[in-house]
């Protein structure tokens, strides 16, 4: 028989406690695990997640290019009369009119261009010819009616990129 190792002090008495009783006591005094009901929260979270997954549309980063609208009063500003404008004509080509042919109406020596980069190179090349007034040279873009908007914006963008300050549109041919 096992001997008790416990030292008895004061009024304490030794009681035999069975293993079963010990287990029961342990169960009785064990701290109760309290858990909040997670199910409704998970339900809501899933609903929200589903909503955002279905409603989310990633938008490309948009910006804007500033442009001036011509004055409809009829009289053009005096300074623009002195400088010959660079007239850029855009013509739709290729299947479904998806390509573009760029022509410089004001300079017939220039061969037709097919890319916006070529237009930029030309605009940069002619800049020194205008001396100090180079930035004030009006650039007018005249697209044909069937030219897709992307080519019109691209041509406009190249003129802005070449640092021309007066870039505008002309009615379609």
């Amino acid at each position: 028989m096992a001997r008790s190792q416990k030292n008895i002090t004061g009024d304490e008495t030794v009681h035999y406690v069975s293993a079963r009783k010990q287990r029961e006591d342990k169960k009785k005094h064990a701290s109760t695990a309290i858990q909040p009901p997670l199910t409704p929260m998970i339900d809501i979270v899933f609903q929200l997640l589903l909503f955002f997954l279905l409603a989310c549309q990633f938008r490309m980063d948009e910006g804007h290019i500033a442009a001036n609208l011509p004055d409809l009063s009829g009289k053009p500003p005096a300074d623009t009369l002195k400088i010959d404008p660079i007239d850029v004509t855009l013509e739709a080509t290729g299947s479904d009119n998806l390509d573009v042919l760029i022509q410089i109406q004001s300079d017939t020596n220039v061969p037709p261009m097919t890319t916006a980069e070529e237009l930029y190179v030309y605009l940069m090349q002619v800049k020194p010819d205008h001396g100090k007034q180079a930035d004030d040279v009006p650039v007018t873009i005249k697209p044909f009616g069937n030219v897709p908007w992307m080519h019109v914006v691209n041509a406009f963008n190249q003129a802005v990129r070449a640092d021309y300050k007066k870039v505008g549109f002309k009615p379609s041919g």
């Binding site: 549309q57 290019i65 442009a67 890319t115 908007w149």
Partner: protein, 162 residues
């Protein structure tokens, strides 16, 4: 009934560990909540032009109105291919304007300018799909001129950074 290998007397208590799943779900939820841009009346879903080395600048909040040149949807073009490159209608703010109602567009632009914070500095942003033909956009430019607007913005994609 399955017997537990530890507690030989009772049934197996199978618990599905949900913690990692809830962690992931919360991460996803926070991501979508932060990145989602709610539909705005000003922006119609379309592909705006992406010029080579775009000079477009980030838009700043100012007194402006956005004119959307609304294209036909893919399904509408499939039904009738003649619609490709055509504008369906115009949209100024939350107001839809029929394509042939140019007078209505001019009136609305004038109204938007008059009621803006600073009518002298009022700007209209022209937002059109890249495939729309120029002759569909030209009437809007003319309407802007008639509404006596001096300045406009053309919507384009920004040049990717880096």
């Amino acid at each position: 009934m399955a017997k537990s290998s530890v507690m030989k007397t009772g049934p197996a208590n199978v618990v599905f560990n949900m913690t990692p799943m809830i962690d992931c779900v919360f991460q996803l939820l926070i991501f979508f909540m932060l990145t989602t841009q709610m539909a705005s009346a000003d922006f119609v879903n379309m592909k705006v032009p992406k010029p080579d080395l775009s000079q477009a600048k980030k838009p700043v909040e100012e007194n402006k109105a956005v004119v959307n040149v609304v294209p036909y949807s893919e399904s509408e073009i499939k039904k009738d291919s003649i619609r490709k490159g055509l504008a369906k209608e115009y949209k100024l703010g939350s107001l839809f304007i029929a394509k042939n109602n140019m007078e209505g567009l001019v009136n609305e632009l004038e109204k938007a300018r008059r009621t803006s914070k600073n009518p002298k500095e009022f700007v209209v942003e022209l937002r059109a799909d890249q495939s729309i033909r120029y002759n569909q956009i030209e009437p809007v430019l003319r309407a802007m001129q008639e509404a006596e607007l001096g300045k406009m913005y053309i919507t384009a994609l920004l040049e990717p950074q880096g």
